[in-house]
């Protein structure tokens, strides 16, 4: 059996077995009308690095290597955020879980804002271009003015 056939057989077996599982990951993957097919496209995309795909897979399956999971797996005692603890030693450190890393960790605020702006910039550009509803005189009904602020953003 070739490698390709083997992979396809594994994928098919995994899909058939999915309904038997009832854990959080299975529930997440089985939820309908939540754009799960796009995740499939992401995995198929060869431009996305293997490590990026692995990190997403770890996030979906709640296995991302962070202190909260390390503690759960009994690899270490503390579940405190290592970055918060190192950079803000006087403040109480939060639990280092995926939610904290992606949304709250103070030391990762800048990449978080950049990510938000990057996606939003693209989204509003597409909406602005494709909002084609027109008035009788041919002018566009919706206008999307550009914010002009150069003030540094804070969360």
């Amino acid at each position: 059996m070739t490698k390709v056939v083997k992979t396809r057989a594994h994928l098919m077996a995994a899909r058939l077995q999915l309904h038997e599982h009832d854990n959080l990951t299975a529930k997440f993957l089985k939820r309908e009308n939540n754009c799960r097919s796009i995740l499939g496209d992401h995995w198929k995309d060869k431009r996305v690095s293997f490590r990026a795909k692995r990190r997403l897979l770890q996030s979906i399956s709640f296995q991302f290597p962070c202190a909260a999971n390390f503690k759960k797996w009994r690899w270490q005692e503390s579940e405190e955020c290592r970055l918060c603890k190192a950079l803000y030693p006087k403040q109480p450190a939060f639990v280092e879980c995926l939610g904290h890393i992606q949304g709250y960790c103070k030391s990762l605020q800048m990449p978080r804002i950049a990510v938000h702006h990057g996606i939003w910039r693209d989204l509003i550009r597409h909406i602005g271009k494709q909002s084609l509803e027109e008035h009788e005189d041919g002018s566009r009904i919706w206008t999307f003015p550009t914010p002009v602020s150069a003030v540094k953003h804070e969360e």
Binding site: R55, L108, I124, Q130, T146, V148, A150
Partner: protein
Amino acid sequence: MGLMTNTQIGRSDVGKDITLFHCAMGYWDADDLINPKIQAFLEVRPDGVAFNVIAWICAFLEYTRQLVSRDGASEKPDLYTGADWSLDRAQDKDLEKDTRYARHLEYISWTSRRQGTTWTTAQYNFTVGVRGSAIEAAWEDRLTKLGVNSAKTRDVIRRQAIRKTPQLSDVILRQFHVATHTSPKWALQALSTTSLTRPPNDLNSTGNLWEISGLQYSSK
């Protein structure tokens, strides 16, 4: 309101108007310490605004990277929660955003009525989970309301935005990984400030994820 951040012109008049509105609605008392409240009111800034010049609609646009789904509630520190878990997390986040801007939208309607115009207000939220999850019906509805008539185009816009979310969210995970394995201080300086201040709908931007994050797309 954030549109006014750059200029002080007309600010005192707007401040008076805001005070008048809040006192008329009974939100503030006249003897309250008003100035910091006006400042806080003006500092709230939606991601974007859109105007429908035919139907006289002023819409606030909001994009949110939602943290985790309800299923992943245990992943979230208890300290941050307090949300109504009977709702889906995306709906919950939308409600939170609606509440944040409700008074601003009310203020716009109130000012419009006072000046004899008929502007109505709306808010369109675009919410995506960091793991690439989004409610298809909600996106369809909001894009249709914003005049994107073609179903195929709506689908393309939705798919692009949703695909980009896990792709870009990976930047944060990478930075976390590098910072924990090298120096935590590196995380504070890894991005240039220009990526944080550029106008959100700068039409010249390609929106390239590595361009905005200032990172090279390596296999790390």
